[in-house]
Amino acid sequence: MEQQNNNNDERIRDISFFQKTLMRPEFGSICGVVLVIIFFLLIATDNGMFNPDGIRNWSVVSAQFAIIAVGACLLMIAGEFDLSIGSMIGFSGMVLAIGSIHFGLPVWQSIILAYILSLALGAVNGIIVIKTKLPSFIVTLAFLYILRGLTIFMSVTTTSKTILSGMKPLADADPIAPIFGGEVFKGFFQWMGNKGWIETFSRGVFEGMPVVSGIPNLILWAIGLVIFGHWLLTRTRFGNWIYASGGDANAAKYAGVPVNKVKILLFMFTAFCACTFAMCQVTEFGSAGADRGLLKEFEAIICVVIGGALLTGGYGSVIGAGLGAIMFGVVQQGLFFSGAEASLFRVFLGGLLLIAVITNTYIRRLIVGSGD
């Protein structure tokens, strides 16, 4: 049974550059970001959306989406969902506020406590999913309710309030908290303000200070997490295991990949991202609420799907999820700036999600050929 050594198998079709580009998971979201920015540049010429403070506004919103999207993205590529992200945001924010304001712990200790509890709850999510073999959709849906209920219960029984404010002075005086709520390059922005490159306040207590005083650390967290997530997924051995766990968990197990460990760690990472979101939010805005983070889990998943990940796992891109977050933030704030009906945003979002899912399914067929 000798076989010819065909160097040029005529059955292997050459694929065009266009097709190759289309197969990149980020492709759709890059186009999307460019399109929405062009769209709003055209219609939002005089509403301030692309002024320094306008840019800062939608950048912060996008960065918030990006932080939770990174966790949701890696988890989805590993084949699981976490619907408790929003409740986790409310919970960890409340832990920080109750710890610092009600029990008078130093803010940094409350932050560490919030992270420990979030990571532990993330691990519990993961362990239940692994042990029961139930879909993570159901397990984390249960946690969506359990955590939200516990958060409200916890804040009402300890402080008889569901919104705690007064974090700002505590956070500003803390050695660790500014990592989340602070800003960087303040001097640079002041300098640009002095030079007249960006607007400065002309009256009041802020007179002479630039309208944008610096880059919020929240944005740095978002960029950092996107870079870390992308690096982890594409450059490390663990990344290969993430793809494999979502692509075919049994095949991965038989090849010796510790699938359970990978999934539990990613549930914990998703909780870490949700907690980071809450830490930034509470320290920057100075208050925590038991109802914070509502629907954030779905917004994170939408960013991930817009970013080209498959809902069924095994394929996706963290960079794509980050771009999805930018798109989400630009559209949400853009419609706000242009004074459009807020309800239209949801129509747009639903449509976008549908288009993204249809495109992703088509691209998947391109990748695995018509056979699967």
Binding site: Q3, I12, N240, A244, A252, Y254, I367
Partner: protein, 252 residues
């Protein structure tokens, strides 16, 4: 005569009240292709899962290179050089050939960071695949774009590259066309010539006879017969699989 590299004696396996295996004995020598035949439900799948460490047996002994041993996980079996190529599992269609090739054995660089060494992975994948006459468009193309026979070959090449001494092939030809089957059988012959012990599971007697040196027939969780190639015809094997009618005449 070389001695057995892997021997399983009187393996029994129960799943609750279901007896999946009721005393199966099997062995394989280096440089031999031992076919495990049986109809659907005969216990072939459970048996290879015992051999590859997925299910520990309820009772019975496993000997590897003459020493009694136990496999508590697939990893145990893999580290001893027992590689299993599953019919539908093993390849992840959405991942690239090189990512699949090194799945679970990723070449790393960067020390504790455990970075995936893509350059090395791609180079080795391309080299190994060309040894099997498979031309890849790129080692980064998704496995989903390969044909069924090519996927089997990638899986076999992977097992051999990672030092498999015993290669267990679970129905490698059942989903393939004529040409692709011929390629896989050819690959099996090459493996045997390299001194690898091949366990070839199939319910197709013709495929088994084209590659096998010895044949063991399973039925209802029991060994019906084991026979050398010279002592048995394809027709006889077929009869055995159908219900073990010719059992006495074979055991002479």
């Amino acid at each position: 005569m070389t001695s057995e590299i892997l021997e399983l004696r009187d393996i029994k396996k129960n799943f609750g009240s279901v007896i999946a295996l009721d005393g199966v004995s099997f062995d394989v020598k280096p440089g031999e292709c031992h076919c495990l035949l049986g109809d659907n439900g005969a216990g072939k799948s459970t048996f290879i899962k015992t051999m590859s460490g997925v299910h520990p047996p309820s009772s019975g002994d496993i000997f590897f290179q003459g020493e009694k041993t136990t496999f508590n996980s697939p990893h145990d079996a893999i580290t001893r050089g027992i590689a299993t190529v599953y019919q539908d599992l093993g390849m992840i269609p959405l991942m690239s050939v090189s990512r699949n090739f090194f799945l679970g054995n990723e070449p790393t660089k960067g020390g504790a960071l455990k970075l995936f060494d893509h350059e090395k992975a791609n180079r080795i994948t391309e080299e190994e695949m060309s040894k099997f006459q498979i031309q890849l468009r790129s080692p980064e193309q998704a496995v989903g774009t390969l044909s069924g026979g090519e996927r089997q070959t990638v899986a076999i090449a992977r097992a051999v590259y990672f030092g498999a001494k015993v290669l267990i092939l679970d129905e490698p030809t059942s989903a393939l066309g004529v040409k692709q089957t011929a390629n896989v059988l050819d690959t099996i012959n090459k493996m045997r010539d390299k001194g690898i012990a091949v366990v070839f599971i199939t319910h197709n007697v013709r495929h088994a006879y084209a590659a096998g040196d010895r044949f063991t027939v399973l039925d209802r969780g029991k060994t019906i017969a084991t026979a050398d190639r010279k002592d048995v015809s394809p027709d006889k094997l077929q009869n055995l699989m159908a219900g073990g009618k010719d059992l006495p005449s074979l055991e002479d």
